[in-house]
Symmetry: C2
Subunit: 495 residues, 2 copies
């Protein structure tokens, strides 16, 4: 046991260091690295990944994890959770036949460029054979990895959001289908028009200036992180003291950078507010994709689109865009940033219609993994269902079934976490309001009170507990989608 623990800690030190290496390299590739250097450096990235993989599959490491797992009752809470997780990962890795895994890695790396081409050329048939093989692997994967608790699609779901199975998601999406679909159809019956003032030119450097201001409002610690530009906004963190976000500035769509900034800073606060003692372990960072998304969406939608927030900060925005916003009132601005409309693209959808996009993908994935739907029938099925939920039919597959990259990567089970995030955010909001008036607190000028509550209830745990445990600790209740649907209906009934 002593020997196993020593070995585990020694090996973990290296694993953590290579995680840091991966973090810096991807940051570099996403932001700085020149076109040709990315190709040139990819061989180095492959060697480093191989080193990481060897550390994790080293038989001595596996053995140490097993010994610690058997004796886990004697470990402290954090390490116990970490070992349980490592044990599961080691066990799962061994269940996948090595040759199948290698073939699959090759398949997905070949599938990606084909997917890009298929989307560009609006040609699903080009991508179809690749997607069929990917689906075949995912179906087999559910067999290899199944346990007494997890079978079928649940196996895949659990990889992205531990303990969130079809039982939970079905309840969630059934409620959405029943209560939200008719409501959305009603609210979005009349097409929304972008007001003329929002179509003006908003210079990038002015947008950047306002985003710097927003990061201060949200109390992002600038000595422990930075903000930079990249093609698509993202957050990336290593421990509590190196948390980075990016943004993108569209001069003809100024609100995009504002809400990306608030969204990514929400992710960043989760990372910065983890307990510092988790640095250097494998228990830092967010507990899951869904819980992480709950934080970014809490700030982006619940905080960032509410009247109280803008009643304080709209003056600042107007002072930066003096010319462009001189005739715009707070009411007009709020109406604009809370517009709901029917649209084809998930990533561009508004707060209200967003979860329906995810619901569609969940339903499709479930049928595909169960074998009730085949890849060749996907485009037609997608379009039918889209019409049913949104009342409109995608113009083509590029803005339909081909719009998202996830399946090309083999990420079945990932999508539902996007909607889960918003739903969890609403549940947290409900309970936060029991402790203090959330909107009222925003009038103090910063998100200090909200940050503090989330830190104590969610952030501080890092990934040292499962996301469902953290939610129960934070709210005293299991996941309950009603808060979300109530929130949306209540908000958009007013708008």
């Amino acid at each position: 046991m002593k020997h196993a623990l020593d070995f585990y800690l020694k090996q973990r030190r290296k694993i953590v260091a290579l995680n840091y290496v991966g973090f810096v390299i991807s940051w570099d590739m996403e932001t700085d690295a020149a076109e040709q250097s990315i190709t040139a450096d990819s061989e180095q990235v492959a060697v480093v990944s191989e080193m990481s993989y060897r550390l994790l599959t080293d038989p001595e490491f596996e053995n140490a994890v097993s010994v610690l797992y058997e004796n886990r009752s004697s470990l402290d809470e954090v390490l116990k959770h970490e070992i349980e997780d490592a044990y599961k990962r080691v066990r799962d890795t061994k269940k996948i036949p090595q040759d199948e895994y290698t073939a699959y890695s090759e398949l997905t790396s070949k599938a990606y460029p084909v997917y890009v081409k298929a989307k560009t050329e609006n040609n699903f048939e080009l991508f179809r054979p690749y997607l069929e093989k990917i689906v075949e692997f995912c179906r087999k994967q559910t067999k290899w990895l199944e346990t007494d608790e997890l079978k079928g699609y649940d196996v895949l779901l659990d990889q992205y959001e531990p303990h969130y199975t079809q039982a939970k998601y079905d309840a969630f999406f059934n409620a959405l289908r029943k209560r939200l679909v008719p409501f959305v159809k009603e609210v979005t019956a009349k097409p929304a028009a972008v007001p003329d003032w929002a179509k003006q030119n908003f210079p990038a450097d002015k947008q950047r200036e306002f985003c710097e201001y927003l990061r201060d409002v949200m109390l992002f610690d600038k000595t422990r992180g930075i903000m930079k530009q990249s093609e698509h906004p993202f957050t990336s963190g290593f421990g509590t003291d190196d948390v980075r976000i990016t943004n993108h500035y569209y001069e003809n769509k100024f609100d995009s950078s504002i809400f990306s900034c608030i969204h990514e800073t929400g992710h960043a606060l989760y990372e910065q507010q983890c307990d510092k003692s988790l640095n250097g372990t494998l228990s830092g960072g967010g507990a899951s994709l869904g819980l992480h998304e709950s934080q970014s969406r809490f700030y982006e939608n619940i905080v960032g689109r509410c009247r109280a927030f803008w009643s304080v900060h709209f003056t600042k925005l107007k002072s930066i865009f003096e010319e462009q916003l001189k005739d715009v009132t707070l009411d007009e601005f709020l109406a604009y940033i809370n517009t709901a409309e029917r649209s084809f693209i998930r990533t561009e959808a508004d707060e209200l219609t967003y979860p329906l996009h995810v619901m569609l993908r969940y339903e499709i994935e479930q049928k595909i993994i169960k074998g009730e739907l085949e890849v060749k029938d996907l485009p037609a099925y997608w379009n039918d269902k889209f019409k049913e939920y949104f009342g409109i039919t995608p113009l083509n597959d590029a803005v339909g079934v081909l719009q998202d990259v996830h399946w090309a990567y083999g990420n079945f089970g990932y999508f539902p976490t996007y909607a889960l995030g918003s739903a969890i955010a609403s549940q947290l909001y409900h309970y936060m309001n029991k402790d203090f008036d959330v909107e009222q607190s925003l009038k103090e000028g910063t998100t200090a009170k909200i940050n503090e509550w989330l830190k104590e209830r969610v952030h501080k745990y890092g990934s040292s507990k499962y996301p469902d445990e953290i939610l129960r600790l934070a709210t005293g209740e299991d996941f309950n989608p009603d808060y979300y649907i109530d929130y949306l209906i209540n908000k958009y009934a007013k708008v």
Copy 2:
């Protein structure tokens, strides 16, 4: 032999990948990483360095290197050189007692902050005990590492510039002392004044714009590298396809960014123009510090400060700084960028006085390592010699003996390469002019012809040959300092 080669190549792949990792991490720390994250991440850097060190000191690797070294006659030229170099490094590493090495690493890491404090407070005595211990180690090091060919200070010199020993440097610096010291005193007798127009404000973004233009003039391949901002300008490269430079923009000293840009782009061209077949080996990059510096200084001084260059590009500079330069003539500009004056700080010295600063340090290091000068006597000795060579006495130790960081890192033997670079540049210039009229070629608008010549004679070899071999191949002659002194005297006699 077959086994040894396979193992060597396998291990080299990992070493190269960790070199890439080191390259990206330092780039990140120098440019992006926030204040506190640097501290937080230093543990990870230590673990990665440890991994690198283990790869290099792995007994199986040492063994493979030995076997290959014994059979080196059967290897191709490039690999043969690489193995000779690796063999020497492995042999040297083993000659230093492990405990001494560890103690020394600790010493220098403690010495650095003390040095910074001592410089800030102008207090040499604070730094003295650390420097004494560093010198003690360096003196011992010359004993541990001495060979039949290399003894004393030569051991240290060879680490930074292989095959450049005191015999060569003495000839160089003696010539400088004899011919250049009296000339410099004469030329700099009258203090130089900065003209009023150069004291105006030159906005950073305009400076950046001109530097982008300069990189195009020098044909830096922007798809295989980038330029960014950092505290101090530097170049950093990994292979031929990922070469990065930084710059710093002082709004009240606009020429600083111009010459830093030309200097760093000179370094960058060396890296970009190596033979591509050397990528992925340990034989890429520059052959030595001195040879690298010869390239940056060739472009910065010989190209960047000459009339022909500015007769083409001054119009562009004037168009960017229309207001600031409207009354400035080409002659006035050339006089300004070629001013020579007596000053205390090496890094800020002009082209003419620069080598004397290096000469002083060489002389001091030589005496210290020989034991003819002790650390306690350094400040007084420095000031006396400075007065002798420059005709002025440093105001205090902060701008005297404490100005450079190198000794705090234990880098004895490094300084002379700085002056060597300029001298080699002049030797190359002499021979380049035999092939074509260098100044005339600049009138074509780019440095294409110069780049091509340097690529064929210097760059393409990477570090697959020793620097003295490359110089002989390029010029048909061994290192000869006369070209440099002639160049300087000839140029500044006219100015």
